[in-house]
Subunit: 243 residues, 2 copies
DNA sequence: CGACATTTTGAGAAGGGTCAACGAAAGTGG
DNA sequence: CCACTTTCGTTGACCCTTCTCAAAATGTCG
């Protein structure tokens, strides 16, 4: 069994999120058990991880890509209430029917496991539950800052805030970390999804992006390519639109 | 020590939230340890439980009253991002400086304990941590439904939603549970706080309440007294304002 | 009863929504 | 490889909801 567990863990050595994922915050014993139960899989953009009718109910840690959490109502309105990035945990423990849908916003690499396996691991290793608790508390903090944005910020502040978020979480693909003022990245979301994140219509988002371009703070190449030219200015706008 | 723990637990027998609080969802051993560490106290309206500068950092379970969680920015704007009612857990484990403030919206009865005690109890009893995890996940679900409201609902839907929430959580003081269509209760929040919950100005809230009164769906006595005359209609409005 | 805080009502302004047209990019099939 | 369709993003014009500022009304408490 040591052979199995060692080889399972060995695969983790080359994992892109080994130092920041949930798995890095638990005991070796728990990490070994987890590694043995996990499988790497690729998920196509648009695929539902949980919350859809047939309920695949996936758990996992994102290795690459972005997941959107969508709160949708029968009348067609929907709001994106969370985004999960590489190293984040995806899943809703202890509840079969969350009124919430998780969908791959981009193609994903997922280190995934089933709900049953999560339950038995949580039972055997309290430190896994503690790590999930810490992540959940952090998600709650994020959700509450997001609520401030939805309740109180202007359109321009919202767009700037979201661009700051993306710039911080999507960087590293082609950037040197030293250059913190100019950041280029691929937008993980369509304009429609972008708007659904910040509680606006896509036309409004488009206008605000144009406005930021005219101010010289950002530039866009092909549709999804975003270039922040003055991160400091963007941050300032994200906090107060007043001038 | 059994004498001590028994007498500590004995006090719980008369507690108003003994059957719904965190303490009812953990093992007897954990509940005994918790009971021994806890003290009942009364908190005045407006007092800060955590997040203020001198940082009292209270943990506790609400026995009576309402706590508001406020996300405030330096420029003066603030958004209420959560409300905690009797039997809810208050506190932010594992983080000294949440960017968030918890304040007594009404006078409170609190079954409280310190952060240090929480840490040692969590260490000794994994089931306490599991119970907190479940509460936190439920809080996250609530926050995300709230986000939908802030991002997508109209003023009238927001006011109706919040009244439904209050009606559901403030009832029981003078109501028979059989009569689910007419509910009377005391509003735990001022108009200003009410507005801060749903991302509107207080004038807009006031107008919407007037409008609901004119529709015959609610009635108000003195300022804080609210009477829902047609709960079904209120629910319907809370979900879609369309007509 | 009088002073203060809170709530309601009013009128006007503005931010963002809606509808519609246009342009750009990407997939499709010959 | 190129027309064709389809999807996605941008821009424009107009309108409606909500915000803002101001005043009146109501409630609260000494």
């Amino acid at each position: 069994m040591n052979v199995v567990s060692l080889s399972a863990r060995a695969r983790c050595q080359s994992c892109a999120v080994r130092s920041s994922g949930l798995c890095s915050q638990i005991s070796d014993a728990a990490a070994n058990d987890l590694a043995r139960s996990v499988h790497r899989r690729r998920v196509a953009e648009g695929q539902v991880l949980f919350g859809g009718a047939p309920r695949p109910k996936t758990f996992g840690i994102i290795v690459s890509g972005v997941v959107k959490l969508v709160q949708a109502e029968p009348d067609g309105r929907s709001q994106i209430v969370g985004l999960q990035f590489p190293s984040d945990f995806v899943g809703r423990p202890y509840l079969d029917d969350a009124n919430l849908m998780a969908e791959a916003a981009t193609e994903l690499d997922l280190c995934s496991f089933s709900g049953r396996i999560f339950d038995s691991l949580a039972e055997a290793h309290p430190d896994i539950e503690r790590a999930v608790l810490k992540r959940t508390l952090a998600d709650l903090d994020t959700a509450r800052e997001w609520m401030f944005m939805l309740g109180r910020k202007t359109a321009q502040e919202r767009v700037a805030s979201m661009l700051v978020l993306f710039a911080e979480r999507m960087r590293g693909i082609e950037d040197d970390p030293a250059n913190t003022d100019k950041i280029a990245f691929e937008m993980p979301l369509s304009r429609t999804d972008f708007a659904a994140c910040i509680g606006l219509r896509l036309e409004t988002v488009s206008r605000q992006i144009t406005s930021l371009k005219n101010m010289g703070i950002i530039a866009t190449g092909t549709t999804r390519h975003m270039q922040v030219k003055d991160m400091a200015a963007l941050r300032q706008i994200s906090e107060s639109c007043a001038g």
